[in-house]
């Protein structure tokens, strides 16, 4: 591996666009905009949080970045090469550098394979290891995720969710990746054991030359511990990005603030049901009106919000917000 200066972009997502079309009521089709011009930069060894509610496009972004799904528009540039267009032959040696951990630890393992077989399967993409070294490596990886080699012989259904998720991280670490996309890795786990996964990531971050992480989640709480930078995504749009401190201590976008508030205990007074349809498919209507997509949900909306599409602009060094009123509202 070539040494690259720290801080340089290793993976760039440029103006990623992806639309799914679903069949509805016979021949009519309904289009769902999963990603709409999303750009992200991932630097070597850093942990980037990507926060958004369900259906915000965050998982789609992960799958596109790993080339599991084709973008409709935009580019995924890894080490200066656009990977979506690469022929299979050129892509395969790169594949091992971008790994993934899935939300549901149980369903992400082949039920017919033991943990050792699953890890060996992933180690097949490491040509520099011979077969006997690979088995040894399985033991080392399981130690690294604090499971121990005795788990190697178990089948997925014999393990708890937390243990399996650690095994999934071991599997992602196996081919020595540059980046691991963690797609809601703690969402299916009990609150009392989420800390195990988060702390394991903290340990892995400290290791020299370890991979960077993209932590996709709807739960901001967990990012406070692990993320260096955070992107907030909703309806296929990045609405705010910045360092962890900027997002947690000086959030600017109304949506970010709403997410932060919802994640804290003791919020009795501000909750009211005004009967508004906040979760209707806004992605459908708003693309037609041309205004801010969060118009219907935003308590700070003004008439101008309905007229102008909002653009990302830098309001602090490193902090970008998609809202013209970002400075005024408090």
């Amino acid at each position: 591996m070539k040494a690259e200066p720290a801080g340089e972009a290793l993976l760039r997502i440029e103006e990623a666009t992806k639309t799914f079309s679903l069949r509805q009521r016979g021949w009519r089709r309904r289009h769902i905009v999963a990603l709409d011009g999303v750009s992200m930069t991932l630097r070597r060894g850093e942990t980037v949080g990507l926060v958004g509610e369900s259906g915000s496009g965050k998982s789609t972004l992960g799958r596109c970045a790993l080339n599991l799904l084709r973008l409709d528009g935009g580019r995924i540039v890894y080490r200066g090469r656009e990977i979506q267009a690469l022929p299979e032959r050129e892509w395969r040696p790169l594949r091992r550098r971008l790994q993934m951990v899935f939300q549901n630890p149980v369903s992400s393992f082949n039920p017919m394979m033991t943990i050792e077989e699953a890890l060996l399967d992933a180690l097949r993409q490491v040509p520099e290891l011979d077969v006997s070294r690979r088995r040894q490596r399985v033991g080392e990886l399981l130690e690294q995720v604090q499971l121990g080699a005795r788990f190697a012989v178990l089948y997925p259904y014999e393990m708890s969710g937390g243990q399996l998720q650690r095994a999934a991280i071991a599997r992602a670490l196996a081919p020595e990746p540059d980046f691991i996309f963690l797609d809601e890795p703690t969402a299916n786990l009990d609150m009392s054991i989420r800390g195990q996964i988060i702390n394991l990531l903290l340990d892995l971050q400290r290791q020299e030359g370890g991979p960077g992480f993209v932590f996709v989640t709807h739960d901001l709480r967990v990012l406070r511990y692990v993320a260096d930078r955070i992107y907030v995504i909703t309806q296929g749009h990045i609405v705010e990005s910045g360092s962890r401190d900027q997002i947690f201590h000086a959030p600017r976008h109304p949506w970010t603030r709403a997410l932060l508030e919802a994640a804290s205990i003791g919020r009795r007074e501000r909750r009211r049901d005004d009967g508004s349809d906040l979760d209707a498919d806004i992605s459908l209507e708003s693309s037609a009106t041309g205004g801010c997509r969060l118009l219907a949900r935003c308590p700070h909306a003004r008439e101008r919000c309905a007229r102008e599409p909002q653009l990302l602009r830098e309001i602090e060094p490193g902090q970008y917000v998609r809202c013209w009123r970002a400075e005024e509202i408090d």
């Binding site: 509610e53 609150m191 009392s192 800390g195 195990q196 049901d273 005004d274 349809d277 979760d279």
Partner: protein, 321 residues
């Protein structure tokens, strides 16, 4: 006065010659007019408890104990009497609203059917009532949306429709089993607020089943903490959350708290094997203050403050810590 009184409730499943202990002797009472939360993580038995109340259990289940609802024993009712109670006096909102609705019938029709079953009104009147409750749960243009099918509803709207369905029965007890799972945070807030509104309007009792302590803090006045099929702690929400008297509650609370610690708190170990009977305390294997007695003797509930019980040998020490 207690509306629901559960004593010595045990639920076991026989699976391939093994016994799965889902509830290991649950005693609790839910006061009329309270908003009570049952809090627990996976394997705690909170869902098993709900299903036991309604006796919605598979044939390999064995249920023992007593469940009294308004002084009436539910476990000995026959199927016809039970149907009167289910959906009539006790209504349930299940998690995954979309899956709980019949995909082949318009939403309004499903609500009207429930209405006709319980109040015996005519078709037209039932439909009107369905539209009315849909509107009451905040669905806009309810008359039109009532004719839509469940797949045309978003997750939050489907949950509203389920709440509307519960509303037409005018139940005395409303059980909400993780009503917000799978919904966006913003929508979660609305659904919870709506549940509270409905309960207040009907003057009903709420039993909220959840794993999320944050939800409980806002919505409920009583709390029942469950772990591995046992009740660990009960009391007023403020008491339990501010001065937990059980090490499990305390450890779980720590996992929810926002701190500036560098590492995220967690409870080491895993829940006890559900296929094994327990001798001592169910939390003994993971507890920071375990002593010999914890492995030998099952702790009985101790009243640490008026109305605040904890099943821990050292409850007094925990509450004072």
């Amino acid at each position: 006065m207690s509306l629901l009184q559960i004593e010595g409730l045990q639920l076991q499943f026989r699976v391939d010659r093994e016994t799965v202990y889902a509830l290991r002797g649950v005693d609790l009472s839910v006061g009329a007019g309270t908003r009570t939360a049952i809090v627990g993580e996976s394997g705690s038995g909170k869902t098993a408890l709900t299903l036991s109340l309604l006796r919605l259990l598979p044939p390999n289940a064995h249920l023992k104990g007593s469940v009294r609802f308004r002084e009436r024993e539910l476990l000995t009712l026959d199927e016809a009497e039970l149907r009167q109670v289910r959906g009539g006096q006790i209504a349930t909102i299940f998690q995954h609203a979309q899956a709980a609705l019949n995909p082949l019938l318009p939403v309004g029709r499903q609500i009207a059917d429930v209405c006709r079953q319980h109040s015996g009104v005519g078709r037209a009147e039932a439909w009107e009532r369905a539209v009315e409750v849909l509107a009451a749960t905040g669905i806009q243009q309810a008359a039109a949306r009532a004719r839509d099918y469940p797949h045309q509803y978003s997750g939050g709207m489907a949950q509203r429709a389920l709440i509307a369905m519960a509303l037409v029965c005018e139940p005395q007890l409303l059980i909400a089993d993780e009503p917000t799972s799978g919904l966006d945070v913003a929508v979660q807030q609305q659904v919870l607020a709506l549940v509270e509104q409905v309960v207040a309007r009907l003057d009903a009792t709420l039993l909220l089943i959840t794993h999320d302590l944050a939800v409980v803090a806002d919505s409920c006045d009583q709390i029942i903490v469950m772990y591995a099929g046992e009740v660990m702690e009960t009391g007023a929400t403020a008491q339990v959350l501010e001065r937990p008297a059980n090490p499990y509650t305390a450890a779980l609370l720590a996992c929810f708290e926002q701190t500036d610690e560098a590492r995220m708190p967690f409870i080491p170990g895993r829940t006890p094997d559900m296929r094994q009977p327990l001798t001592g305390c169910s939390f003994a294997g993971r507890c920071a203050m375990t002593r010999d007695i914890c492995h030998q003797e099952r702790p009985q509930p101790v009243e640490v403050a008026p109305g605040h019980f904890s099943a821990c040998h050292f409850a007094q020490e925990v509450v004072e810590a």
